[in-house]
Every structure is written in structure tokens, then in C-alpha cells.
């Protein structure tokens, strides 16, 4: 049995960071335009897949960016920045390719059905929505919204990753501290962060009932509910994660 108090006490700050990371991930999902199955048939605005897949894809890209940077530079700003940009680039790349497919493959124009004028380009939207659909493609406002979502989600994932790496490399009493290069530590932290990201992207996707267009969508106003839910859910997850990652140092990093 490992020393639980000695593990949790020095890491209260990092548990808080994990909880904030989970909340950020939860908010980020509200920015990402997902249309689910209707969007896959170009009958709803957004990318044609589920929230969880898209948000998790962005989150994992963020974790990969954070992990590879953390190996070289342990500055919190650099790690979080890399994670945020990594996730945002992943989403932006997904959306530009999706836009090409919608425009040149499916033959529909990017248009939002939720607003009359695109809040960013001020272009008229409602005239171009095909009959019987709820918009199609990824209009500019959804694109910008999703990039913001990627930045936030990556930031959340990076924060959770950074916090857990700090927990793993902390010098506990009578224990040799681990290095950031320890592969087992990186593996456990990355696995945890991915599981954590999945949980915190499912909770908000229940909140938006599967589809959203971005920050101009009326459903976006529901975000505080999901943020509170993820905040509460992340507290036990954060404690459990800190114990499991910290225990690696106690067994000598293997």
C-alpha cells in the first residue's frame, strides 16, 4: 500500500489544474461545429461525425503536441501553447478538407441555418440553405468558432497533461524523482489524459444533444451547465489520477 496522504498533499495545486483542464475541455466542445450523421449527408451544418470523435481527435492531437514539447522544454507556457496550437491546427485541417469535400464533392455551399447573417463575414445565410436541410458545410463563423474550440480543448488537455507530468516527476519524501523522459510515465500520463478527455467531451455532448454549430448557435448558451458538470466530475477523476501517476514514482518508475 502506498502513502496516499503523502501523495495527494503536495499535489493539491495540480489536482486543481486537472479540474480546470477538464472544465476547459468541456467548454471547448461547445465551440466545435458537429452535425453528427445528418452532417455526413450534408443535411446539417458542421462536420459529419460525433462530438466525442472530433473533440477527442483534437484533444489527442493536443496531447501529442504537449508530450513532444515537454520532452524538450518544461516551461508551462510552452507546453500549453503547443497543446493549444496542436489541437487547433488539427481541427482547422479537418475542417478545410471537409469544406473541400462539401464544396467540390457533395456540391453544397457552406451555410448556417441558425443565423440570418454570418456574424463574421456578414454574408446572407438563409437564402442559401437547401430545402429540408439545417444548413450544410462549414461557414466562416463555424470555422472560426471551431478554431477557438481547438485552442481551448488543447489548452485543457495540455493543462491536465502538464499537471500529471509534474505529479509524476515530483520528489516525494524518500523516493528518487522520475525524469520527464521516463517512457512509462509518459505512457501512463498520456493514457490518463486521453481517458479524462473522453469523459469530459461526452458530458458536454449530452448537454448540446449531439449537434451544435458554434458560438452563434442558440444551444451555445447552455455551456455553464456542462462546465459545472465537468468541474464536479473532474474532482474525483483528478484525485484518482494523481494517486495512480504518483504511485509510479513510488515503485521507481519501473
Amino acid at each position: 500500500m502506498i502513502d496516499l496522504v503523502g501523495l495527494i498533499a503536495p499535489n493539491i495545486l495540480w489536482i486543481l489544474a486537472i479540474v480546470i483542464g477538464g472544465t476547459l475541455i468541456s467548454i471547448s466542445v461547445h465551440f466545435i461545429p458537429v452535425g453528427g450523421a445528418p452532417a455526413a449527408m450534408a443535411q446539417a451544418t458542421g462536420i459529419g461525425t460525433g462530438t466525442v470523435m472530433l473533440a477527442a481527435g483534437a484533444g489527442i492531437a493536443g496531447i501529442i503536441a504537449a508530450g513532444s514539447v515537454m520532452d524538450l522544454n518544461q516551461d508551462i507556457g510552452v507546453v500549453l501553447g503547443a497543446a493549444a496550437v496542436g489541437a487547433a491546427v488539427m481541427l482547422a485541417a479537418t475542417m478545410i478538407v471537409a469544406t473541400w469535400i462539401y464544396a467540390y464533392g457533395v456540391g453544397v455551399m457552406p451555410v448556417s441555418a441558425k443565423v440570418k447573417y454570418d456574424p463574421i463575414t456578414k454574408y446572407r445565410q438563409d437564402l442559401y440553405v437547401s430545402k429540408g436541410t439545417e444548413g450544410h458545410g462549414i461557414p466562416t463563423v463555424a470555422y472560426v468558432s471551431s478554431t477557438i474550440g481547438g485552442l481551448l480543448g488543447g489548452l485543457g488537455a495540455g493543462l491536465a497533461y502538464y499537471a500529471l507530468m509534474k505529479v509524476g516527476t515530483y520528489a516525494y519524501a524518500g523516493v528518487i524523482p522520475l525524469e520527464v523522459h521516463n517512457l512509462n510515465l509518459v505512457g501512463v500520463v498520456a493514457t490518463f489524459t486521453i481517458g479524462f478527455f473522453f469523459i469530459n467531451s461526452v458530458i458536454p455532448s449530452y448537454n448540446i444533444v449531439g449537434t451544435i454549430e458554434g458560438f452563434h448557435d442558440p444551444k451555445f448558451k447552455r455551456w455553464p451547465k456542462a462546465a459545472v458538470a465537468s468541474f464536479l466530475a473532474s474532482i474525483p477523476l483528478g484525485i484518482v489520477a494523481v494517486i495512480a501517476v504518483g504511485a509510479l514514482a513510488f515503485v521507481g518508475g519501473l
Partner: protein
Amino acid sequence: MSEHKMIPPNTLAAFGIVGGLVGIYLAYFLSPMNPIFLFFGALGAVCASIWGADVVRRVASYGLGTGVPSIGMLALGMGIIAVLFGLSLSLGPAGPLVAFIISCVIGAIIGIISVKVVGMTIPIMVRSTTEIAGAGAILILGFSIVIAGSLDYGAVVKEVITTGFIMMIYIAGGMAMLHPHNSNLGPDETQDRLLSLSAEKAGIAMVLTGLCSVAGMGTIAVTMLIGVFIWYVGFNKYYGFVKRDAYKVVDIGMLPTEEEMA
């Protein structure tokens, strides 16, 4: 749907919990004698995945609004966190049981939060997330013991997590839980057809985990063979149920050749 006999939820839950834990503990205690017995762990995981598929079926038929995969990913996410926590406490044989209980607790917390805070109206939400997290934990434990050869925290971290096989368990195991409902949902959905598909998917996951095992050729061969057998039985049963439930199965022959088209 009513003309078919349904297996009640409690029976399937008992099947998943008892079958899963017995499988894991048989593998745990018998593997020091001969590593071939590790395949019991994968059998436990198959039991858990059938249980999980039934829970997904019950909860997702209320309409989650987000697609069925979300709840499968949620299950495995909770399972992974609970399993790593349970094993990291270094409790020896109690580890898997603690991991299972912790995952149920995490599942209940997430369920209560999604009902009370997010405001989901599914009446069985709390029970479902609890059950599905437990099924996810047993599934990960069962497949992990096959790959790592033991449930020692160090062995699992080195052989399952650091090698990245955990992601294969995550997706292949998640498939066994979420895919059956995702592909069978609708008004003509029947429980036996869905569960046979889950067994078939779990068989594929068992073949893959057997291939990744570090416990020697004997374990790899036995686990993969049993996995192929489960896949074969599951697939044939599923095909039989599809034929039973379909209005008519028509053989359309091969695609017409170019000359026939002209």
C-alpha cells in the same frame, strides 16, 4: 420484439460481474502455474462486453442524442482511469476488485452529475453509467492480464500502457460494447441478435489481445484459437438471427458483367 424471450438486466449484470471477475481471478491465480491459463482473463472480458452491450442497448434506446459511440467511449474512459488507480494501490489480489468497485463509483458519480447538473431525463441513467463503467473496467482488466501476463501495476504499465496496446483494448473493447447497438438499433432490434454480435466483436478483440501477449507462444496460440472460436460461433449465431429477423433473405447473385449490362 415481445415474441422473443428477453434476458433480464439483472441476469446479464450477474453474468458480466461474476463471469468477468471469476475469469480474471482464474487467470490471476492459475497463471503462475502455467501462463496458458491467462486466456480465462480474456473470457472474463468477453462476459463483461456482453453485459456492457446490453447496458448500452438499454440506455441508448432512450435516445442519447449524441450517437451510441459516446457512451462506449465514456465507459472505457472511466474504466481506464479506475483500472490504473486500482492497480496502482499495490493491493495484490484485491487490486482488480478495487478497480471494479472504483469504476462503479466513478460511473455513479458521472451518472448523477449528468442527471442532476446536465439535466438528462433518461430514468436509468445512473444505473447505466454505473454498470457500464464496471463493464469497461472488467474488460480492460481481462484483456490487460492476457497482454501483460499479470496484474502487477509495473507489468501492466510496461506491457500494456507504454507499448500502446491500451489504445487497442480501448477501441476494440469499446467496439464490442457500443457497436452491437449501433448497428442493430431500430424498431426490429432484438436482444439475442445484439448480444451475439457483441460476442463476435469480443472474439475479435480476444484474437488481437492474444497476439499482443508477452506470456509466450502457448498463451498466444490458445487465446487466439479460443478467440477465433468465439468469433466463429458469434458470427454464425448473428447470421442466423439476422436471417430469422429479416422479412426475406434474397440471393442477388454476382454483379452483372459488362457484356450482360449492354
